[in-house]
């Protein structure tokens, strides 16, 4: 199931990257920039947005490699706190929420801003409770006390 999802979304992303290279906005940039851009840069990338997408796919792939490696080496002792820590980390979505809530989407405050604000509240809940409970659990893990000198 999850494999299905991962594969599906990766595939979708790649296909989309391909399709986008011929979509209006990408080719427009490429054309207007073509005159001034060096042969080297043309050779390396035909459109700025394509380059952006590729960069994101690279970042995603590398981050997944890092993630799988790093998590596999987390101590088994700490799997419960790990769950709450990553739970807190997944609340980076707060970044997107702030950009939505603080952005300009029409005259003054719009319902889009409201959505962003609700998302902020939800994310901050996650962050606060996630980090606090992780720390609370980790505090409990103690080494054997050396009583005798």
């Amino acid at each position: 199931m999850s494999v299905l999802f991962v594969a599906g979304s990766a595939l979708g992303a790649v296909l989309a990257a391909g399709a986008d290279a011929v979509s209006p906005d990408a080719s427009a940039t490429a054309v207007s920039g073509a005159a001034v851009r060096a042969a080297l840069h043309d050779a390396a990338a035909s459109g700025v947005s394509l380059n952006e997408y590729v960069a994101m796919l690279f970042v995603f792939m590398l981050a997944t490699f890092v993630g799988l490696d790093v998590i596999r080496r987390v101590s088994r002792l700490l799997h419960t706190p790990l769950m709450s820590l990553t739970n807190a980390i997944s609340a980076v979505a707060v970044v997107g929420s702030i950009l939505i809530a603080g952005g300009k989407h029409g005259e003054g405050w719009t319902w889009i801003n409201t959505l962003g604000t609700v998302a902020i509240a939800a994310s901050i809940t996650n962050i606060v409770s996630g980090f606090l409970i992780t720390d609370r659990m980790l505090k409990m893990f103690k080494k054997r006390e050396e009583k005798k000198p």
Binding site: L68, L99, G106
Partner: protein, 468 residues
């Protein structure tokens, strides 16, 4: 000027998130991990607030939202350790909601003033974000409800004929709508709410057929989805911090659920569609075999003469909150120079690492919490194996009986010890709903009763004897 600063903040934040997870590889560096995570998050938030294009008059609402979040979040972190799975699930629900809402906002923003049409790449990512986000939202709420044993959410699996077909076709329709949206977002705009509603519905339907006890695996999977929806958000916004942090989170959820599945010797498909813990419950307890039982006083006397005692805790210890009494037993025994170790099975209890947290809470030094693979070779030298509220994780059928539903699941080999003391309330089966031959083993003595009460009495007898 401020934009390179923002990007730099994101870069450093990403590095700190990675270090946070790296430092979780040992209890000694683990608290640094939290610090690093907090610093990373703080940098991410501050960086974002410095981004150009934000309207300063909106900051008061942002601050208000942050305050509300904090007010809800702080008490949520006070839950008792037994409620940690529910809390995590609830928290994922919030995470999914946030991702989903941001997705909706982004979709409608393109038609608002100053909005620009999303490209195909962004639209596909946005669809993934919304699907995963809302699915995680309702799915996690359901999971939390099942774990909390709320009345209106049946915690046993609810199945009906053709269930998988219905679920998969719902998902199919949602994906089809997404494809249309990618092809022509403006024309098929009205399909967007359909996608949202289907995602919400699918989340509920996905969890309904899964038993309450399988929730930990499901929660881990939902954690992975929450991470992936953050990745998708990153793709839409062109934000590499979101992509990296999301990917870290996605891998974590995936690996934890794989670990759980492996330790239970089951597949993902079996967890998600198997409606486990329903059918097999029936077949338990058939023949009449001989059971030997003992009192806590007998147990204490046996243990006094041991030189190596291995304690194998399980779900029962968690339910009974017996860890502090177990700690007393541990103290009494070590005081007499008896070596005491804990044998920790990876899926003992109801979430990964469950026993470790409980025992750490009771101040057992973590050096004495020994993993399954390391304790098993020592079991033949073990004089007394004290099984407290564990059942499936010490069931020899998993090793010996190819017909058993849990055959192939790795176990702690309690039956190799010289004497086994099993503390539980009855002869009822555990999570997997099957008979455990360990209890009929001639080396086994059953000590019936609540884990907390029994452990308390054993400790008292040990203490009494020593003061005699």
């Amino acid at each position: 000027m401020s934009d390179p600063v923002v990007q730099l903040a994101y870069l450093v934040s990403t590095g700190l998130f990675i270090f946070a997870l790296k430092w979780m590889n040992h209890p000694e560096t683990a608290r640094r991990a939290v610090l690093s995570g907090v610093a990373a998050m703080a940098l991410a938030i501050i960086g974002t607030c410095l981004s150009p294009g934000l309207i300063s008059s909106h900051f008061k609402y942002i601050a208000l939202a942050a305050i509300i979040g904090t007010v809800i979040g702080v008490p949520l972190s006070w839950v008792p350790l037994t409620a940690v799975p529910q809390r995590t699930a609830l928290s994922h629900a919030f995470g999914g909601l946030a991702a989903g809402l941001v997705g909706v906002a982004e979709f409608y923003k393109q038609h608002a003033e100053g909005g620009h049409a999303l490209g195909r790449f962004e639209t596909s990512a946005l669809c993934a974000e919304v699907l995963l986000g809302f699915l995680t939202f309702t799915g996690s709420l359901m999971a939390a409800g099942k774990l909390q044993e709320l009345k209106f959410i049946p915690s046993r699996p609810v199945t009906y004929k053709g269930q998988n077909v219905v679920n998969l076709s719902l998902l199919g329709i949602a994906v089809f709508c997404c494809v249309l949206l990618v092809i022509d977002g403006a024309r098929f705009q009205h399909l967007f709410p359909v996608v949202v509603i289907l995602a919400l519905l699918f989340g509920v339907l996905l969890i309904i057929p899964i038993g309450g006890a399988d929730m930990p695996t499901v929660i881990s999977l939902l954690n992975s989805y929450a991470g992936l929806s953050a990745v998708a958000m990153g793709f839409v916004m062109g934000n590499k911090l979101l992509i990296t942090a999301g990917a870290l989170d996605g891998s974590s959820g995936l690996i934890l659920s794989i670990i759980m599945c492996k330790a239970m010797n089951r597949s993902f498909a079996n967890v998600l569609f198997g409606a486990f813990g329903k059918v097999q419950r029936a077949e338990a307890a058939a023949e009449n075999k001989i059971i030997r039982s003992a009192t806590p006083r007998d147990a204490a006397e046996l243990m006094e003469n041991a030189s190596l005692v291995v304690i194998v805790p399980g779900y029962g210890m968690a339910v009974a909150q017996a860890q502090h009494r177990v700690r007393e037993v541990y103290d009494q025994l070590t005081k007499r120079g008896i070596r005491v170790k804990f044998g920790i099975h990876p899926v003992a209890g109801r979430m990964p690492g469950h026993m470790n947290v409980l025992l750490a809470e009771a101040d057992i030094p973590y050096e004495d919490l020994v993993e399954m693979d390391e304790i098993n070779p020592e079991m033949p030298q073990c004089d007394i194996c004290l099984v407290i509220g564990a059942n499936d994780v010490v069931n020899p059928a998993a090793r010996d009986n190819p017909k058993s539903p849990i055959y192939g699941m790795p176990i702690i080999e309690a039956d190799k010890a010289k004497v086994i003391l099993a503390v539980k309330r009855s002869m009822n089966p555990g999570f997997a709903g099957i008979e455990n031959d360990l209890y009929y083993n001639e080396k086994t003595l059953m000590v019936f009763g609540d884990a907390k009460a029994v452990a308390g009495e054993i400790a008292k007898h040990l203490a009494g004897d020593s003061s005699e």
